[in-house]
Symmetry: C2
Subunit: 499 residues, 2 copies
């Protein structure tokens, strides 16, 4: 036993080194996106590449293998057992990729992102096409190295949502699509439409910032373990659980961008800030999957931030930050305008209802690409066709179409489904919370602490100690079920559009 104790101690030191690299990388990225002067960017990318390689070397080192083998069936500590399992999985997956292919791929990624930026600017898919073709090829090859049981796409999905399969998505997404499409149709036919123009007019950035900070405080985002900055593309990033930073974007013509963006990123941040302290400096000290992470951001953004309960209670507070013409806007007009549903081209600007449809388009296309059912060169056309089919609008340029997202340029195939999964998770979790407490009542009585605590106790706390579907089943006592999301959206929009 003494010997195991010493081995565990050495292993923990190795994990601490790994955490140190991760923090250094996260800081370098945060700074790159928020504070770095223009001329520092080039060198910075190299530094991030260097530190990432060091971290990758450590993950796949003989030393790592040595500890995994020694500790695998030789420890009783639950955290240690799961830590070893996590390290083993990373070790195995990463070792399956030949080192030179990994290096080529990393270089291809950064090159492709730069080319994608340019292609998007020029709205010229042809420029990006050869890079995307290579990225798809690499991902297919990696998927083959990693292995899969049923569908090659499963191997990629595993990187973002371990435990979820293509088969499950193919079961659940069409149902969701049908429900949302018919709801969208009814909304489009409604004669009782919100008037979004009431929200127009100059809303000073400083006031938006102050209100956003106020909401973050309500959510109990811990400012002594985080900070809020401004960026073009908002994000949340955890350096460690005591330093989880968020960013937002201000549009002085539309306060919703900053306010709901801040709540969204704040939801991600709460997850990371509330992970069990015992997991610090292990690879378990982070959100368990992209989908569960998204469930936390969407929970706060939609079920709290866009809820009737919230605005009924805090509209007066909001008005103390808002331009004076808001004094004339009746609550109902305001609430309905905030929640307008409107098919649009850009995913990240989509409303609550159409958002999952944007995701499904991407899922279907990337699954088909990886399965060799379609060709990269046909993407722009197929994208636009699906937009017409799912949302009834046809993009007029590739910039507004297939070139809008960075994910594929970064080689992230298998990531998109997490967004829709996260939304379904969130709705199902909300139902579970409602069985114990009444969410709307917690909101109207200002008991945000209880909401945060429930999420922390049931989700945040575990970090990667539980797999995504394990969390869903432990908390909700059933399998993933899209009905909760459909019911929520139906009820909400039936009210707003008098369906």
């Amino acid at each position: 036993m003494d010997n195991t104790y010493l081995i565990e101690k050495d292993f923990k030191n190795l994990l601490k080194e790994q955490s140190a690299y991760q923090e250094a990388i996260a800081l370098a990225q945060w700074d790159l996106r928020t504070k770095i002067p223009e001329n520092g960017i080039e060198q910075r990318s190299e530094i991030i590449g260097f530190l990432s390689e060091k971290s990758h070397q450590l993950e796949t080192s003989e030393k790592m293998k040595y500890f995994i083998d020694l500790l695998k069936d030789n420890t009783n500590d639950e955290i240690m057992i799961k830590t070893v399992a996590e390290c083993e999985e990373k070790y195995n997956r990463n070792r399956k990729i030949p080192h030179n292919e990994y290096k080529e791929y990393v270089m291809l990624q950064s090159k492709s992102e730069a080319i994608w930026q340019e292609a998007r600017k020029k709205s010229d898919f042809a420029l990006f096409q050869p890079y995307l073709e290579k990225l798809v090829e690499y991902n297919k090859r990696f998927a083959a190295y990693w292995g899969y049981e049923d569908n090659i796409y499963d191997a990629l999905l595993h990187n973002y949502e371990p435990g979820v399969t293509t088969k499950e998505l193919d079961d659940i997404f069409p149902q969701l699509k049908n429900s949302l499409s018919s709801l969208l149709e009814r909304i489009n036919l409604s004669n009782y439409k919100p008037d979004p123009t009431v929200l127009k007019g100059h809303f000073p950035k400083r006031n938006q910032e102050n209100f956003s900070m106020e909401v973050l405080r309500q959510m109990e985002y811990d400012f002594t373990s985080g900070r809020l900055d401004e960026t073009v593309h908002p994000f949340a990033i955890a350096l460690n659980k005591h330093d989880v930073r968020i960013t937002t974007r201000y549009d002085e013509q539309d306060f919703r961008v900053a306010v709901f963006g801040t709540i969204h990123e704040g939801g991600h941040a709460l997850y990371e800030q509330n992970i069990n302290q015992d997991l610090v400096n292990t690879p378990l000290a982070t959100g368990t999957s992209m989908g569960i992470h998204e469930s936390q951001s969407l929970f706060w953004e939609n079920f709290v931030g866009r809820s009737k309960a919230y605005w009924e209670t805090y509209y007066d507070l909001f008005k103390t930050f808002a331009p004076s013409h808001y004094q004339q806007i009746p609550f109902d007009d305001f609430y309905r305008a905030v929640n307008e549903v409107k098919s649009s081209f850009i995913r990240i600007e989509a409303d609550e209802l159409t958002y999952p449809l944007h995701i499904m388009i991407r899922y279907e296309l990337e699954k088909a690409l990886i399965n060799d059912e379609i060709k990269v060169k046909d993407l722009p056309h197929l994208w636009n066709e699906k937009m017409v089919d799912y949302l009834g609008v046809r993009p007029t340029s590739d910039r507004e179409g297939v070139l809008q997202d960075i994910h594929w340029a970064g080689g992230d195939f298998g990531y998109f489904p997490s967004y829709a999964l996260g939304y379904m998770y969130a709705a199902q979790l909300k139902e579970a919370l409602n069985k114990e407490m009444n969410l709307d009542k917690l909101i109207t009585t200002g008991k945000f602490t209880k909401i945060k605590q429930w999420l922390s106790d049931n989700i945040h706390h575990y970090g990667k100690m539980k797999k995504p579907l394990e969390i869903i089943e432990d908390v909700t006592h059933e399998k993933l079920n899209s009905d909760y999301l459909v019911n929520y959206l139906t009820a909400k929009y039936t009210d707003i559009y008098k369906l």
Copy 2:
């Protein structure tokens, strides 16, 4: 030759790794002092420690030794020759310290800094004394490992001002002291004293910031390769030559803190921003010594920023940022108030004339400590005695006395002389510039570009390609000479105090 080319290429890759660690460390430090949330501080110190150890391991690695041995007498490239020499010196010095002693010392440093913070707060030297004793012991032991010819203190001085010896300082400082003391005496006897109260009154931070930015632009500080932030203790830090950041502190009761502080740090930053691009990713891509660095910050702060030429020309500009009561302050009253001489306790608040006297006190004490001529426990008393002797004032607490500076708490013995050396270098360099051009005329005609260019061509450009005294002699064609500083101060204060 082909073989050498390949070896050099591999060596350059190793140096690039070293630069990557340095940038990661610098960023972690910058963030620690400017943006980090409170709860992130503890973990951050560990990350910095980890990265520093990695960097130290690389500097003292067998791989490094291999390249040094292979390339030492086997390259014709001047940059490569000096790079190898720099690496060899670092390798040799660092290898002389046993690894376990180095680690103990690093831990002692951070512990001591924390204790010093507390001791200063409580104004309780006894708390800090045992740590300072250990730090002195380590420094003496390290100095013995490194070796020296004449005085043990030389071995420490070498870390900050290579080429300068205790003997030289003992030649030059007493002369300087005598000249400054007699000048100070005459000033104290003058009946024509400036009235600093004219500068009193609330000066909004934002206006100070805007004026500071304006001055930085005049100096041609490159904002696309840097940024200005706010901190309690201002500093300049180079992540690389394309990312050199500065910070400043705002005192709304005294604009001089921010304005002269910003110019000072801007002077440091100009040095790093204008280093020859060919040196990037070598250990030569930074200022050659603490003293030469300080010469650049003081050149701008004092010879430009506090000069009559500057304020005669830009006082009107300044008044567009200043509170309205400045409209009533005649130029002469303003200029003289800005340049008031007054013996005070705190080094970093000292005026141009008394500043070097503060340095000499520290030099004499630390030299005596390292030479076993005095004991740590006697420092507070000896400090106060010297303050009376040099400046005519006696600190009433250790906080205002021996505990005011962080240097000793960080184990930095041999650092202080750089401040006075830098000032003498600056004055001597100014004289050299004046032989080619007229500094005051460049200032009054707004030709700051020419000032910056002259400093860049003669100093910045070289990075560590030249040793400090080599720069002084190459540019001024004579050895270090304190007369220039004395003459400058005498002329300036004769005018201001009508001596």
